[in-house]
Symmetry: D3
Subunit: 325 residues, 6 copies
């Protein structure tokens, strides 16, 4: 049944409980402090293909544990746009930064953009990543990333990724010739979940774009969808029956609903009502708890593709307004 989740009026009105661990803020502040103990050391290298209207480069920085994390950096040619705002983008599950040709929309629209590799990802039939994950895990995991280290928040994969994301914003803020007072974070699916964490913890961030986000309300998600990547979590719970509650508690530290509650900058959300990958009730949960000014664009008949490039055009308008462009 295409409308498989709650009816729309319930989605719009029901504000579900959150499960924020008591040490949630300490955990993340501690993680970031530890991460910042390594020098950020941003490094830039020329991109191989010259593009006359866009300046592209490889950028890397020290992420969690000091590991080098790679990113692409693109900005409109400086003869056309002198000091552009910057949008730091995070990727969907399994995706990599690929080619500069994949990230031309924001530069064309007058923004610089930094696209961060999700460590370890970027090797599945789409865009290639350039960043491994030096972190191991002290517990077994289902093929994928969601359950790596799931028995301990300090060991969990997304602890490293979220710390990387905060550092990516700091790397953006370290750039010359861009407007570092106007930095936004953005992402779709997994990238939306990361953007929520970055909106909560990174500085300086002026706004967030959160499309059909993953990693929100996972306890609910696994009751309403059997699609990957949430299916990885179900598979883990099925095998590790005795550790189920412990695993779910680790995810409370990652849950976008909790991160949303700590964010205060303006945010643009999007949700698709037939999205079986990131079910609408989990997206609404994050939206309802989001702590800053917010707007939600609803796509009633779409699946996880959400609003597509139509929403990208809308997003450019929203960012221009945000940045008074």
């Amino acid at each position: 049944m295409p409308l498989f989740d709650l009816p729309r009026h319930e989605l719009e009105t029901r504000r579900p409980d959150r499960h924020e661990p008591p040490d949630f803020e300490d955990f993340w502040l501690g993680t970031l402090a530890e991460t910042r103990s390594y020098d950020l050391a941003p490094g830039v290298a020329a991109y191989d293909l010259a593009l006359p209207t866009v300046e592209a480069s490889h950028l890397s920085f020290a992420g969690f544990g000091g590991q080098r994390v790679n990113a692409l950096l693109l900005r409109p040619h400086r003869r056309l746009v002198a000091s552009p705002p910057v949008v730091v983008q995070f990727l969907g599950y399994g995706d990599g930064t690929g080619s500069a040709l994949d990230w031309l929309a924001l530069p064309a629209a007058g923004f610089a953009t930094l696209v961060m590799d999700t460590r370890g990802q970027g090797a599945r039939a789409r865009r290639a990543g350039r960043t491994g994950d030096l972190g191991g895990s002290s517990s077994p995991h289902v093929e994928g990333f969601l359950t790596r280290g799931i028995l301990d928040p300090a060991d969990h994969y997304y602890r490293r990724v979220f710390a990387d994301a905060v550092r990516a914003v700091e790397a953006a803020a370290s750039l010359d010739d861009v407007d570092t007072d106007r930095i936004a974070v953005a992402g779709t699916s997994q990238g939306g979940g990361i953007a929520l964490a970055a909106a909560a913890w990174a500085h300086p961030v002026a706004g967030a774009v959160v499309n059909v986000p993953f990693l929100c309300a996972p306890r609910r998600a696994i009751e309403v969808t059997d699609r990957a990547p949430y299916a990885e979590l179900v598979a883990f719970l099925r095998t590790h029956r005795a550790d189920a509650e412990r695993a779910l508690s680790t995810l409370d530290y990652v849950d976008g609903v909790n991160h949303a509650a700590h964010a205060t900058v303006p945010a643009l959300f999007s949700v698709a009502l037939m999205d079986q990958v990131c079910p609408p009730s989990t997206v609404y949960a994050a939206f309802h708890h989001y702590g800053g000014p917010k707007r939600l664009e609803v796509y009633p008949w779409n699946e996880h593709e959400g609003g597509g490039t139509a929403h990208d055009e809308l997003t450019i308008g929203w960012l221009r307004e945000l940045f008074d462009q």
Copy 2:
């Protein structure tokens, strides 16, 4: 079995027979003469979203039967590139021109590009088209486009589309402030098949980019793949058993292998050896018969996605060389 088609050495050496109808050239020259009896009447309208580095607009022109066909036109900002070459692009099956944000790669690389709607297409879960198809068909067809009017070459859907494609090149040649001596055609999948026809019949065309083309050697295709869109043809033959040879003969007028034999401009092909949508033996057939200077990029492990943006970067290099840029 992933390597489901002929072994690579056979692909590389076997030059299969062609089935060119005796009146093939007359048919297409006649079709174009009839199409040109309508004034081309190119019209340009502003694109709704302003982009500081790219000038985007809606362009329309009179295609087959005088019907208006819509296209997107993008060019790098003229402060950066004064008189760019033009690449006329054709779309994959079911795709539409969508948003200007979808077509930024070539403008970023210094080319203007005109992206033509495929009449009637552009309504299936990806990019929206803006062009209907006023043509009907005098015979029944399988849901889709491949078998519309398949019992008569003059009634067949791709007669209209190929004529539109030639007119799109002429519309590009009518533009100001671009280098109309340097026009290439390009396309992937269905777009590759259309590009082959445009390479054969359109003027002025200086080169062709043909990625994993559809519409080549359909008699062979239906023996080795059951994937859509070739599956539409099989479905037709299954029902209209008595008209099978007539239907296949109509497709001889569309077969990219025959169009390839009439082309003389340099061409860059790509093929993916695990491509079940456009099987490699059908792509090699067009490549082997192609009448101009040619190069083939082989992707041994890819399916229909072919070389992706990696190939797009390679293509930009090939186009720059072609145009002495």
Copy 3:
């Protein structure tokens, strides 16, 4: 979940709202007036295979826009049945009239039957049609028929088909040696949707058989099923997000629920409670709003096959009663 739609008691009691456009009746009366501006010009040709107990022939007539529409006509041998009633039958999605051998049930039971090709259909792995659709569309469409011309009621595919259906009844009424006072319309799935329109607007019609009808309450249908052909509509809405309401409004002119409300002759409906192609709630919607005497046969465990030949036997009984045979 097999019982995926509303619980049975809700199906039986809930009479959902209708969305009849203010000019609904004018639209259809105007369409028929325009269609009747062409001479009906029924033509009969001998069927190739001689059958000793059944007289079969090809019949054609001028449908919408004056286009020739083909049909099969069968009647019991006149030595056995002198002046039989006539049942005009409409086909399921993608089906064609095929062979006379496919339509022997009603003639064997003492009825003449006229089976109308659905223009453009009849080329998908089952029965072949003989009628193309000369009508084009001014907007893009999803592969299939449901979304052709969906942005304008006057341009929509089913406008042509429903007009053809009314003309088919008129062609039946023009026949010699049948009882033209006793004409019924009948159809299954798409054919059921067409029969509802014919019941509302064709003359002379004395009764209607409507099995698991398609084209009823499409706004509801796409919320509860993702099966084709309703999936074509969802695909369109997903791509043409901005035109969604306009598309749905066009379908209000086609919606069998609205046609049902304009019909007054006796009708036999059937519904299958596990039918994911034409969900039961959409069938009940048409039944509840049907304007004439009515009976509904419920098949609790069947999918879209509904009551099969068991229901065909029941239908023969119902028709005999209707016609006092």
Copy 4:
């Protein structure tokens, strides 16, 4: 790959070895003698729905082990056809005789027809049967019929069915008012396999129609297809590894290739080259070994649906010629 079996020229020329057990003929003659030890005792009952052009009735007779086997009997109204030839039809896997409305083609064409229930079958989502199978099996079997009693020819399911089929011909020969010198057997898929056995062993039989037959060359079949029902055999061999050769040897008694070699009456075969249910090489094997005059109709693009009603029309012509009608 749609053309998954041998290339056509090999199909047409390669005459594979047969595996006829030394006691094959004795086995079947003994089986029939045992079956005939029960009185045939044909019984006729009126069919519930009266049809003015066709006389329909229920017929039953004593099959294997004396068990009552049900059939439908239809003949054209005797005012139109006085003494029609008879075609005894056998059913596809899982099918039942269903309604008289399902079997009108041959009566309409001037033949009587007797359609035999396949014992135990007729309960899977299509046509209902009326005949159970009182026979049990002394070995386990995979869900279905193919492996019932597969460890012993005397215990195997199809021993009972083939004996029933011979008795069905004898029941046809016992009828009044039909032309018992002109009896043919016919069937599609499983029915084709049964028809081959009946052609070999039943009397009086004047011809056989064998469409895309099942039960031919099973050793080959399971190497080239994984579709049901042959998949039942593979499943058995996978579990009962030690009994594999014994199971395959039992099927030698059922193999249509062996029965074909014992038949001498004219036969019309059909084969579909993309048929994954009854692979073409297995059908050609039976055709090549068939012992009587023979004709093969090839459907190059069809799957197991074969030639459909188009082939039914052709079959009527072939039967008329056979019977000098």
Copy 5:
């Protein structure tokens, strides 16, 4: 939707109606009396592979109709465990007793175990059975076992199987050197349904282990799942529409909910909330009506695999407590 059945609180509180036929007890007592008219005649044969810690043997006995039913018998080496309790195990759908190596868990834990073949089953890609089913059926059935003889309780397949199960307990009770005061029955899926019947009717039984049982509340099951084997029932109802209520009434005699109500010994149930093969509401129905002391272990995220070997360990503990071991 993974949680496709009722919400957990409804599962836990809702006690659905039962449909016990008035002659239910008479039917089963009569069946057993008839079965016991044959001498049980237990026979033991050595198992081919010698195992130093476990004594394995083949055991057979006279089941329903006097037919020999095979079983495996294993017990811990008598130097280690002198007089072990016995657990009589029943198998899942299509499974066979296979190898002694498959049944080592209970002997390792100190129990003897007798594993009964389910007559006719044991030939589908897993473990091989050694027992055919000599019983036939007087009505057609869907491929499988659930609908064999479904139009008459006396003819139904599970009548034979449940009688076999009672006899298997009696065979266990006839063994030397085991503790026949301590016999439990156990099974998973189909085996769980059989165990419920054995718990109700077999003597001497001291306890029952019922995992994710099949055959409970089939009327409900077919409304919430379309998975095999319940799908066999739906297929039958779809074809045999007129006999639907009769078929469902036959299953009332088999329904584990009714057998549960007649059992009085302690029972350990397990249920998996995402189990689409044996939906949780059907398992809870049997649990709520179970007549003896009972415990239910709930696996919230598992499908039909339920608690796996983790639950097997728990079961060993429960059995030890039951038997004061």
Copy 6:
């Protein structure tokens, strides 16, 4: 097509080329030397569930990089078997050691067995593992294990696993009360690939059991199967086109064909001819190059389940012969 790989006679005769890197032996000897720089430090803990016939315990040891690797250790009760041989078992892809109840076959047959966790695995819907993988990777990978660190042999996941396997044998050799002169290695699928490496490099090993092994001839594997886990490799090559040869070269260090060539102890292989997970030609490749005395058991109709428990019984016989038991 079930027999999708080479014909059997080619499988049996064709000895394909190997791709052994020049430093292959150095690489593995170096890896083991490095691993042995950590104290093996075997530790044993009681298993929670007491079993009267089997002594079970948790065993851990220092594997690659000194990381603790967990294993289960089972032996027949010492009153029955004093000094049993030991079989070290490795697991299939994604599997974990689970419960002692899962590993009772070898102890029942008189062997001790040590079952090693595959680091990081054991969390996918079957048996749970207890061992994480502290190793990270310096390159991105496809969800799963096969491509982790695939751009550098020293960084590759299976380097760690194979080193663990050698250490597991050493841990077995350190045990008291078992016969450390009689140690065999064994595994199925991934476990078979690991067993090949252990047979080549571990001491003391007296024999190897290699069932349907994974990790053999991966270049061939990805041409003939698209099933997981080989599909992970294809996905990587599709995205990381430029690094394809480098990735395949890393796998040369893992390829079981190369390890087989370095083994000299007797081996029992099994292969299934319809195995699409580990295609038969890749298994035969390892068998043909195996350096010691060898036997191959062929299962002609099985898929990846191979010989199942029937083969386990055969394996026990082979081991007994190997160990003169």
